[in-house]
């Protein structure tokens, strides 16, 4: 492999950014045909509904199409599972790279 004068800080920056964008891409749940971009705000909102015994609610998906969630607890479960999967992937990807930067 050719020796290159690689910028550590620059590589750190572009790697962090690329991993963040990949994390956003993987942080999308397709539920009953609707795509939902999972944010911490959205998770907290659905969690609030569940805690207040709201079982059915209409929400907007990522294309602003209304969708009737018939079981908010089940929806939250799937959102959390997808979010944790994406978060774990991000953590492992960063751990595998940080010592090589």
């Amino acid at each position: 492999m050719t020796e290159k004068n690689v910028s550590r800080s620059g590589s750190w920056r572009v790697t962090a950014h690329a991993l963040r964008e990949q994390f956003i891409a993987e942080n999308v749940l397709v539920y009953n045909g609707h795509a939902f971009k999972i944010t911490q705000d959205f998770l907290a909102y659905i969690d609030t509904l569940v805690r207040n015994d709201v079982t059915t609610i209409t929400v907007l998906d990522s294309s602003s199409i209304p969708f009737l969630v018939e079981d908010t607890a089940e929806f939250l479960k799937q959102l959390l599972a997808k979010h944790q999967e994406a978060t774990n992937t991000l953590a492992m990807a960063w751990a595998a790279r940080k010592n090589d930067l």
Partner: protein, 264 residues
């Protein structure tokens, strides 16, 4: 049962090499059905048999070639992509460039969305200032969409979009004058953007945008590959070299020759 799969164009020897790279990376985590549109010379190249052994469906169609100014060594046969609707063997299709390397399930997940057509609005460029590109086209400021990734089904909306895409390409000179833009190259990105813009302006159809950005590796970047990973280096003269280990990241390689040299 609804069939789902990937469709890519791989016409000419370099695109067959890219297809093999793309499929090899994809098969590391997914057994999704894949079809390649090839021309009638494809069977003469060794990559054809290798792709066939990996279970690929071949669709034969011939396209015209054009040159790209930053990659003169590659014959660029990408002008038939507006025919993807008629050529796709799947009910739900991810139309993808052969130089878009899929290494995560994120791109495939949108095939489960119940939307007629989804296209990419943003891209971010490795080694640039992290901007999510929200370009517009011409004096009418038509929002730029990227034809690299298009998810579509066999609905009337998708049929109308691809018909308009063909029509835009056929009368591109007229569109250039009307919308006030210039391009020496026939770009599918422009044709798709204009087709979506016109259909939405006519209030006939609405098309969805992918809720995330796609990473583009600029043409001046070089790659180094080993058995386990691929690393990309930016090599511009005005800033220090930056690198990324591309493992698990989806990316669009603009310089096909550099990618092939590193990975084949």
């Amino acid at each position: 049962m609804i069939s789902k799969g990937i469709l890519a164009f791989a016409q000419g020897p370099k695109f067959l090499k890219l297809a093999l790279i793309q499929l090899t990376q994809l098969r590391q985590f997914s057994d999704i059905d894949v079809a390649y549109v090839v021309d009638d010379t494809a069977v003469d190249y060794p990559e054809y048999a290798k792709l066939e052994a990996l279970g690929v469906t071949f669709v034969t169609a011939n396209s015209k070639a054009q040159a790209r100014n930053y990659d003169l060594n590659t014959e660029w046969k990408n002008l038939g992509r507006d025919r993807a609707f008629e050529l796709s063997p799947w009910d739900k299709t991810l139309l993808v460039d052969a130089d878009f390397i899929i290494q995560s399930p994120a791109t495939l997940a949108l095939l489960d969305a119940d939307l007629p057509l989804i296209c990419s609005k943003w891209h971010h460029c490795f080694d640039q200032a992290f901007m999510l590109d929200e370009d517009t086209i011409g004096e009418h400021a038509i929002p730029m969409l990227w034809a690299t990734l298009v998810w579509f089904d066999k609905s009337d909306a998708s049929r109308a979009l691809f018909a308009r895409w063909s029509e835009v390409l056929k009368f591109l000179k007229w569109r250039q004058e009307y919308y006030g833009f210039y391009s020496s190259l026939i770009r599918n990105d422009y044709a798709l953007s204009i087709a979506v813009h016109e259909l939405e302006q006519e209030q006939k159809y609405e098309f969805a945008r992918a809720p995330y950005s796609q990473m583009v590796i600029p043409p001046w970047c070089t790659y180094e590959a080993n058995a386990n990973s691929v690393t990309v280096f930016s090599t511009t003269s005005d800033r220090p070299i930056q690198k990324i280990d591309l493992t698990g990241l989806d990316f669009h390689a603009l310089n096909k020759t550099n990618l092939i040299e590193a990975m084949v």
